[in-house]
């Protein structure tokens, strides 16, 4: 057999091998649905993730090492990791009341530590450095990013079990949010100087709904007005999706983004279920993708291409898969009961996120504390929102 014939035969064999193997890879990474989705009880992956997250917060050394590792890149991740973990632990407590005591202890530790840092180091401690590059337009300066998520943490904790100290703190925080949002005609509050984020507004509205449920307050008028303004001024025409960031005057900076819109849709479930479902359907159509049974989400829709940034994480060239958007897509798929789509990004996690198991604990090598906490939240969400709806 001459060389050229051998080369041709090898190439054909490799092509056939590829054609045979690629469609089979999904089966190697298939796992039972009960590992990642359960109406009641706790899925196996969630149990393992929670064990590691709880240990991080109860071992000061591990916690400091992990949080510092993230803060080098983005101080926001430190803060958001706290929020997602508190939300996850609240859901875990409602799913398994026998474990509530342990979870509440960690939730309180996180909340108290977060409030202490905010009090001692100021809001800039949890913001990216560019927050200091300009003055906040509205004074005194407040960041809706912090106010909204702290209110959400307080509300989540109280929905599991009442805490008198947190009652006043939540009321105070929601009043601040309401004042900030009502200051302008667009009903927008800054997270960074003259920078308003849809993600933070959606989280803040969810926190208001929690406060209404817990304390009998009524923010329905503000929520109704905000929704009307958002529909009119903050929806991208091509996709029908809410944009990600804008100025106080309503000038859009970033269009719809995967790392924003999926979480926004989930929070809007507490505010306007129909609008939320519509946003999820559109977001999935524009940004949810599946290749050979592996699911992921793009950061940007085709009609609004943008660069990889600190929110998206690195994106995979050609397909445009984004770690940040994919993580949020898992949350939304779980929240909207989209079990068919949910299976595919979970499968991708096993292929591309490098699970590391030790002593009954799970973390993803390619992730960090905030990524793992967001995933944990995705796997256990449900009961907390049900208490508010």
């Amino acid at each position: 057999m001459n060389l050229w014939k051998r080369v041709a035969l090898t190439a054909i064999a490799l092509l056939l091998g590829t054609a045979i193997w690629l469609p089979c890879v999904r089966f190697v990474f298939a796992r039972p649905e009960t590992d990642y989705y359960r109406q009641d009880g706790v899925p196996r992956l969630a149990r393992e993730l929670a064990a590691r997250q709880r240990r991080l917060w109860t071992e000061p050394e591990s916690r400091e090492r992990e949080l510092n590792r993230m803060r080098v890149t983005n101080a926001e991740w430190d803060f958001m990791g706290r929020t997602f973990l508190v939300l996850a632990l609240a859901n875990l407590s409602l799913r398994e009341p026998a474990e509530a005591e342990n979870n509440l202890a960690v939730m309180d530790l996180i909340i108290e530590e977060t409030l202490r840092l905010e009090r001692e180091k100021g809001m800039y401690f949890f913001l990216m450095d560019y927050a200091r590059s300009n003055e906040f337009v509205n004074q005194p300066a407040r960041s809706l990013f912090l106010d909204g998520e702290i209110a959400l943490m307080l509300g989540a904790r109280r929905l599991v079990r009442e805490n008198e100290e947190y009652r006043g703190l939540l009321r105070e925080r929601v009043q601040i949010i309401e004042r900030s949002i009502r200051r302008g005609p667009l009903l927008a509050a800054e997270s960074y100087p003259d920078e308003c984020w849809m993600f933070d507004h959606a989280m803040a509205l969810a926190a208001m709904r929690m406060a209404d449920t817990l304390d009998g307050s009524d923010h329905s008028a503000l929520i109704r007005d905000w929704l009307a303004t958002a529909r009119q001024r903050l929806v991208n025409v091509q996709t029908g999706l809410l944009v990600s960031s804008y100025s106080l005057d309503g000038d859009v900076t970033d269009g719809p983004e995967g790392s924003t819109i999926f979480m926004v849709a989930h929070c809007l479930q507490l505010v306007d279920a129909e609008f939320a479902a519509d946003q999820y359907t559109r977001a999935k159509r524009e940004m949810g993708k599946q290749v050979l049974g592996f699911g992921f989400a793009r950061e940007w829709p085709q009609s609004w291409p943008g660069p990889a940034d600190v929110d998206s994480g690195p994106t995979v060239p050609v397909v445009g898969a984004s770690a940040g958007a994919s993580g949020m897509a898992v949350i939304a798929a779980s929240a909207f009961g989209d079990r068919e789509f949910l299976a595919s990004p979970v499968r991708s996690l096993d292929l591309t996120a490098f699970p590391i198991r030790r002593d009954g604990e799970l973390r993803y090598g390619a992730s960090n504390q905030v990524g793992d906490a967001a995933l944990l939240y995705a796997l256990v969400l449900g009961p907390l929102w049900d208490r508010v709806r």
Binding site: L9, G17, I20, M70, G313, I356, G365, A366, N368
Partner: protein, 98 residues
Amino acid sequence: MKNWRRLFVSAGMFTATGLLVRAAVLAAAYGVAHAAGWRAYTSILCGTAPGGNPKDLLAVACGVVYVALHFAWVLGVPVLVIAGLLLGVAERWGGRPR
């Protein structure tokens, strides 16, 4: 070790044995990287420095090599094995390569 090197070279690029040997080499390399604990360095994918120091280029290199070997193991090795088996059948049917 010498035998392996001889086998790697003498098997040739375009033979069934050559493909199977390359699959074995990739699998072994992945096994070594895995045993060395390089999986933990894949946090570079989410923009988080593996050891907390973004200037630690060795840690970043470990992460990059691990990711490459992981995909070689998951995607490349099975393709090489299937192709090697198919080529083996073809060689038997069409005569051994000289």
